[in-house]
Symmetry: C2
Subunit: 331 residues, 2 copies
Amino acid sequence: MSELRLNLVTREWVIIARERAKRPEDFKRSRRRRDIPVHSEGCPFCPGNEAMTPQECFRLDGEGGWRIRVVKNKYPALSDEGTRQRRIDGPRRMVTGVGTHEVIIESPLHNTNPALMDIQGVEEIIRTYRARFLEAYRDERVEHVIVFRNHGEDAGTSLEHPHSQLIATPVVPVQFRDRVNAAMHYFDDTGECLVCDILRSEMADGMRIVIDTEHFLTFIPYAALTPFHTWIIPKRHSASFCSIDEKETRDLAYHLNTVLSKFHRGLDDPDYNYVIRSSRPKDSENEYCHWYLSIVPRLVRSAGFELGSGMFINTTLPEDNARYLRAVEVA
Amino acid sequence: MSELRLNLVTREWVIIARERAKRPEDFKRSRRRRDIPVHSEGCPFCPGNEAMTPQECFRLDGEGGWRIRVVKNKYPALSDEGTRQRRIDGPRRMVTGVGTHEVIIESPLHNTNPALMDIQGVEEIIRTYRARFLEAYRDERVEHVIVFRNHGEDAGTSLEHPHSQLIATPVVPVQFRDRVNAAMHYFDDTGECLVCDILRSEMADGMRIVIDTEHFLTFIPYAALTPFHTWIIPKRHSASFCSIDEKETRDLAYHLNTVLSKFHRGLDDPDYNYVIRSSRPKDSENEYCHWYLSIVPRLVRSAGFELGSGMFINTTLPEDNARYLRAVEVA
């Protein structure tokens, strides 16, 4: 019989359907990615084509040129200019589309990505995330900031040059509010941070752990929404990503690089999204919220049931996913 | 500048990004569907192959054989057998996977669907939904029932023979709870049903209406999550789908058939999901919940931002979508 597991952080139920079980190997790509060149003539993110991007807002230089550039998105979902205005009209609520939409170009190399680059490269990306995250919140019109990465077409990206994105919105998404509420209720019930409790429990159990080091735990959540859904959680309680220090940055880079390398080798470079779920800087000290990084490989397609219920059907066991990833050797 | 619109029913924010605007015509399929035969030798849902399906639980007969069959899903996400049991283990919550997973085979013809069949055929499908919905709730282990349809590969279906599905779960999805809470707060604030208020407002405004008849309104929601996201809402207040009478059933069949025909003709037979969002039968009289049918064409792919925020970026104007669909002529 299948079982339903409740994700206490998101309050989402997941049907773990063993009867429909697939083995981890079954998720390997059937089609191969095409060979990607190290430099692409027409790519707006490749060195030499800097004039093709909109305004540059951040740059990290190294020997021989830039190592990371942050530019405005050419087709921004939200605009840097204008004032935040509300309109209430019967049951209609509107806010003007002010905010930020940036692209973080992660490398001058067209054919790399965080699974393939060295750890120093991933560290620099994380430092850049933090700098842009802090900068975005300096804008008083901004209520919430999302940093995310789309890898591959099934994950919604159209440009293959390695990049992440940052979107700063003038409202707080209900999904974030719901998680704060769930964390608050748990804190009221138990006097503990929910995520700290989950960390303790996962470390004691051990079955779902992929990587365990001094500052972070990478594991498959007990109620993973989809096959190989993965969380990277800081062991030190903090509500906001911006509070990470240098040692933690290096350790996070190790986790991100390693787990993405395991995906790359063990699952044949799957498409994925990752996102940093974090409170804003001024809420860093909040005792019931706890930031983390969530990775969702795009190995399955959601359908009407997921849409209609907000529940998920996962045809794999999280414990099996973790065991499989632990066994994948990376350099 | 783009604008953000709040969907008061789901509390989701949508970025309506005009700068990235696409015209409705841009969503037409680039690839053609292959020609589908009227009967397929190896299809388990085609007449003559009845022995290939698991247990039949409902059948509607007509001249010359069955017109609709309901069978157990061959790979059920949830099981009819066993008892509902809970396990609480630290921060882990589990419930045994009991419930129902049925397939509603909508026609003996392999190559039809609700956009192409006559209205009587769609009426029979709706009557079957209602019968199975009521039957599923007779099981005391069941807390919530979802009736949905996946059309096309991008919508998650693997069998092309026309069919819908019903899943009955032993828990209430958080998404449903959240909507009930939103409706309750609105009722407390205003003394009105939120959806009744939206209906009045949409009928007065008129810009987003696709089809308006005595018993139902089909329109593009003000904060449509995706291009051509469509709602079919009953004008008579009721919390549960099972309360529809014969006249309403015929009118709903007209709306569903007509709007899906408009999709078929105007958008070249797009993949889509639809789902009935309804309270359970014993909550039919609830004064702040209001059932409806939601259709989401799969014209765009969600990415890291949607995943990370629960917000959506819609590159079309709901008002334009409605105008476009109104102009599509169907027989």
